[in-house]
């Protein structure tokens, strides 16, 4: 187990190395004099603090943009490994500080939708599997399909239109109300919570479908297995069959995938956060990407690549932990 974990970790590091190489080459090949323009723009900003040449030297020192692509990559890798990610161009503070400022909002938002997703999707999925081909099954199947197929931006706009414009229940975007500063501590919490409702709802609706289908599929698989037939044959009450024999076994793949998606809670919801102006890491990175903020983008891409690899690793390990039949090799 330990050996496997170490092996997978080393393996992930290699993958990460190549992923970042691709990302770095993309950045490296930005159109000619893009960096010069950017540095000039940064230097001319109020409170830039650094001159044009300083920005450019900074950049070259950190990213090795003036060296060859491979040498530059290693230079970047070296500085990044020492924990020096530079200053964000868009946010004009150190990248790590901006990360620290934003990531928790993303985490809370994702956590809310994660909990809602589990609470809604698993019971519905099990119900659909229990009564296959019933109306409820059809309904959940169609709902799941819609949920998978809806474009995030359309759902977000639709929710905004209905709940903000037409009903006026929530603000269109942002994280705080107008009178936020005058509210009490509790009031402030409620205010922010209220602003998290629509984005949370968006994320939940979009993620419920996938999990629901997954639950249904696995539950059906379990219900068709021999031991369920045996359980039924020996006269175990149907309730007990479902809750004890079937559900527990359905949990194996569920726990595996859900565990694997845990790191993803930190990766931020790029589009949802942007559309609702939630100052999470998705929002920050989107703005950085659009404005060509290389330091922050490189950091963010590294971060989510690590999260993806971590997710895969966790899910594989969990598989072995939860299901004793599986032996890692």
């Amino acid at each position: 187990m330990l050996k496997y974990t170490v092996k997978r970790l080393l393996y992930s590091v290699v993958i990460l190395f190549f992923v970042m190489l691709i990302v770095y080459s993309l950045m490296y090949n930005m159109p000619g004099n893009y960096l010069e323009t950017k540095a000039r723009e940064l230097a001319s900003r109020p409170g830039a603090g650094k001159s044009y040449t300083e920005w450019l030297n900074d950049l070259n020192a950190q990213y090795g943009m003036d060296k060859g692509i491979l040498r530059g990559y290693f230079i970047w890798l070296k500085t990044a490994l020492t924990g020096n990610w530079g200053d964000s161009w868009t946010w004009t503070i150190p990248v790590t500080l901006e990360f620290h400022n934003t990531v928790w909002f993303s985490f809370i938002l994702s956590l809310i939708s994660f909990v809602v997703e589990i609470l809604v999707a698993i019971p519905l999925g099990i119900m659909a599997a229990k009564k296959q081909y019933s109306f409820a099954d059809y309904f959940t199947t169609v709902f799941a399909m819609i949920s998978i197929s809806l474009p995030t931006f359309f759902l977000a706009t639709l929710l905004k239109y209905v709940f903000s414009v037409k009903l006026g229940w929530f603000d269109l975007s942002g994280m705080q109300g107008r009178d936020y500063a005058e509210l009490s501590q509790w009031g402030k919490f409620l205010d922010v919570a209220k602003h998290f409702v629509l984005p949370g709802l968006t994320l939940s609706i979009l993620s419920i479908g996938g999990l629901m289908r997954y639950t249904r599929t696995n539950m059906l698989e379990v219900l068709n297995s021999d031991y369920i037939r045996t359980a039924r044959a020996k006269g175990v009450p149907e309730k007990k069959v479902i809750s004890k024999h079937a559900f527990r076994n359905t949990l194996i793949p569920l726990v595996t995938t859900l565990g694997g998606s845990l790191p993803g809670l930190f990766s931020g919801a790029l589009i949802t956060e942007t559309l609702f102006s939630i100052r999470g890491i998705g929002f920050a990175s989107y703005n950085s990407m659009v404005q060509g903020d290389i330091p922050f983008v490189m950091f963010y891409l590294t971060f989510i690549s690590i999260l993806t690899l971590l997710g895969n690793l966790i899910s594989d390990l969990l598989y072995a932990v939860v299901d004793p039949r599986v032996r890692l090799s």
Partner: protein, 678 residues
């Protein structure tokens, strides 16, 4: 053996057993008919209601997007215009304060400088409170400026100028001393030996000395000459001395003033301490200057010079004038000169306001002009910045033309609201006018089924063209994914070993690659390069394809790994079939069902990605339509609230398309694998 076909045999059997009473036997064709695998899949597929729904949606969508534009009259980049009554700045009124000169007598050549100094002369004259002055010009003539009344000034030339006398304290040269010959040459009377002695001792370039109470000054001339001069009071005549009446009047006259003595007119000009009296000839009016602007009742009539000049010159005298053979009367109504024709009808007026249409045309009706002028004067009196009144403006038809009745006379709208707004020195005139404008955000109607967008494009047409792009992107990207994925997966799965290892590591890398952020960055870069829309589309499709092949490769490899060990592949190897054929003829067809399912789902996913990118403004760009850009164009908070009829149908269309592809994919999976547990 090879010709054995169960269906054929059964058919033959059926033919031989012509059953008259229609009884179905146990081995009847309809009971034991054997279907081909494809037919089986198809049958199972059409039994799935959701899948059929999806297929119908996709077929309808294809017809709509690819055939629809052929039948629909509008293009995707066709801008629509409309006539709309909107409140526009239809004219500008300016208070004119500068004087413009009109030639009265073309035979008189006016000095250029005198002409250009007229405005200054008029200002000087108005400031001094006098009404007349004379100015000597460079051409030697005098120009007489006469203020005839408010805003009207006449300029007359006085020729035959002759300087008759200079007076006041004038400096007169009395003698020249030649230092070389030591001789004095007198200009006038001789001044005696004392003077000569003094002169002989002069030094330096200039200086002064006093002799017998008279102050002399000297200056060095050319060579060793000294010119000695003194200032002299009294008149110095260039010709014969004139009478004392002249001298009295000349002394009293201020510069520019005209006086006459003994029937001759003189003007005094001051130059330093010296005054000069000129005899001047008769005044002939050369030009008339005015800050008035003429507006005629009938604005189609052109004002002739004769009419304007005669009117202006008579304005403050008789008030009657003749022009072009007709008699007119002119009445001064405080700030305005109103002209009446012979019958006593109002013919036109002079006022200080230039009232023009926004395009500079002087076509505003007389009555409206009078109303506007009165409104502005009222505003000035009250110190207001804006005012509003009703007047009569020409009626307009729905397409912006003027409306005429059957006799061809203009129709007027009596109750036209005009708003006057002061900006700096101008007065803007705002009124509702029928204008030709881009038909932006038109609500759905019979001409535009889904209305128009912010650029005046027909939304329905753009939905069709946008669908083309979206569907095309979906198919092309998936095709790229399939090509790369099948080749890579096929190689990896078939060869195994180090090939498999390398390819699968690449797959791992691409799997881990965060595609959405990379597409956003790519979009940002293409934005910065201001890339052409079609090239962008092309690059985007390739990038999406490259980013997505890993999944296909993994699927193909997994399938092939399991098939490779099966008997039919061993048989294929044993018969010595080429490697290429073994992979592509025997392995890949077996992977096809899985591939088709994943490709169908992939199209939906790609359309989703593309529309998201376009929505963010980083994918396909305006003016090329895609569903994403169409929603993006109304994504701002206010547009979103007002133009729901644009984005809701388009958003639903995207959702329906993706749902339909997913339904088909799901249906195909079930159909291919009926034992599957879904």
């Amino acid at each position: 053996m090879a010709s054995y076909n169960l269906n054929e045999v059964l058919k033959k059997k059926k033919k031989s057993e012509t059953n008259a009473n229609g009884e179905v036997k146990l081995d009847d064709v309809s009971r034991v008919k054997v279907l081909s695998p494809t037919m089986q899949v198809f049958k199972r597929f059409i039994r799935n209601r959701l899948a059929v729904f999806g297929s119908v949606v996709i077929i309808v969508l294809f017809v709509f997007c690819f055939l629809g534009p052929l039948l629909y009259p509008y293009g995707q980049k066709q801008t629509f215009y409309k006539y709309e009554s909107i409140n526009v700045k239809f004219g500008v009124a300016t208070e004119n304060t500068s004087y413009t000169g009109y030639v009265v007598d073309p035979s008189i050549t006016v000095d250029v400088n005198a002409n250009s100094y007229m405005t200054t002369y008029i200002k000087e004259l108005l400031a001094s409170g006098k009404t007349r002055t004379n100015k000597l010009a460079d051409d030697g003539n005098f120009y007489q400026v006469d203020i005839l009344g408010d805003n009207v000034v006449a300029m007359s030339q006085r020729g035959d100028v002759e300087a008759v006398a200079s007076f006041g304290s004038s400096v007169v040269d009395v003698a020249t001393y030649d230092a070389v010959t030591r001789s004095v040459k007198y200009k006038g009377e001789e001044l005696g030996s004392d003077f000569e002695k003094k002169v002989a001792s002069l030094k330096g370039n200039s200086g002064k000395f006093t002799l017998d109470g008279v102050e002399y000054s000297y200056r060095r001339g050319t060579g060793k000459n000294y010119i000695i001069s003194t200032s002299k009071e009294g008149f110095i005549y260039s010709g014969a001395p004139l009478s004392s009446d002249f001298e009295d009047k000349a002394e009293k006259a201020e510069p520019g003033d005209l006086f006459s003595s003994d029937g001759i007119e003189y003007v005094v000009v001051v130059n330093g301490d010296t005054k000069t009296a000129y005899r001047v000839g008769e005044a002939r009016i050369a030009k008339v200057f005015t800050s008035y602007v003429i507006d005629l009742y009938d604005n189609s009539v052109k004002v002739t010079d004769e009419f304007r000049n005669n009117a202006l010159l008579s304005a403050y005298t008789t008030g009657k004038f003749t022009a072009d053979g007709k008699n007119y009367t002119l009445v001064d109504h405080d700030d305005v000169l109103t002209i009446y024709d012979e019958s006593g009808k109002e013919y036109g007026e002079f006022s200080n306001f230039i009232i023009r249409r926004s395009n500079g045309d002087d076509t505003i009706e007389y009555e409206a002009k009078v109303h506007i002028r009165e409104a502005i004067e009222d505003m000035q009196d009250k110190g207001l910045q804006t005012s509003q009144f009703t007047t009569r403006l020409p009626q307009q038809t729905a397409d912006g033309q003027y409306a005429y009745d059957e006799n061809g006379t203009l129709l007027y709208d009596d109750e036209s609201e005009v708003r006057v707004k002061q900006t700096d020195r101008n007065y803007e005139l705002w009124a509702n006018q029928v204008t030709y404008v881009i038909d932006r955000f038109a609500a759905p109607s019979t001409t535009h089924i889904l209305g128009t967008d912010g650029d005046g494009f027909d939304v329905f047409a753009r939905v069709m063209y946008g669908g083309r792009v979206s569907l095309m992107v979906g198919f092309v990207v998936v095709l790229i994914e399939l090509i790369i994925g099948v080749i890579m997966g096929g190689l990896a799965g078939y060869y195994g070993g180090w090939v498999d290892n390398i390819i699968m590591r690449a797959v791992d890398v691409f799997y881990c690659l965060p595609s959405m952020p990379i597409m956003i960055i790519l979009g940002g870069i293409m934005d910065a390069m201001r890339m052409d829309v079609y090239r962008r589309l092309f690059i985007m499709m390739i990038a999406l394809g490259i980013m997505g092949w890993a999944g296909v490769a993994r699927l193909v490899r997994g399938q092939i790994l399991s098939f490779r060990e099966q008997e039919f592949m061993i048989a294929a190897e044993a018969t010595g079939i080429k490697v290429k054929d073994r992979i592509f003829k025997h392995l890949i067809p077996n992977v096809m069902p899985q591939l088709i399912v994943s490709a169908t789902m992939g199209i939906g996913g790609t359309i989703l990605t593309e529309s998201t990118l376009s929505f963010l403004g980083l994918g396909v760009k305006h003016p090329l339509a895609t569903w994403g850009t169409m929603i993006n164009s109304v994504s701002s908070a206010s547009a979103m609230a007002h133009y729901a009829y644009i984005w809701i149908p388009v958003g639903l269309l995207i959702s329906f398309t993706v749902i339909a592809f997913n339904f088909i994919g799901d249906g195909l999976r079930d159909a291919y694998d009926p034992k599957g547990k879904r």
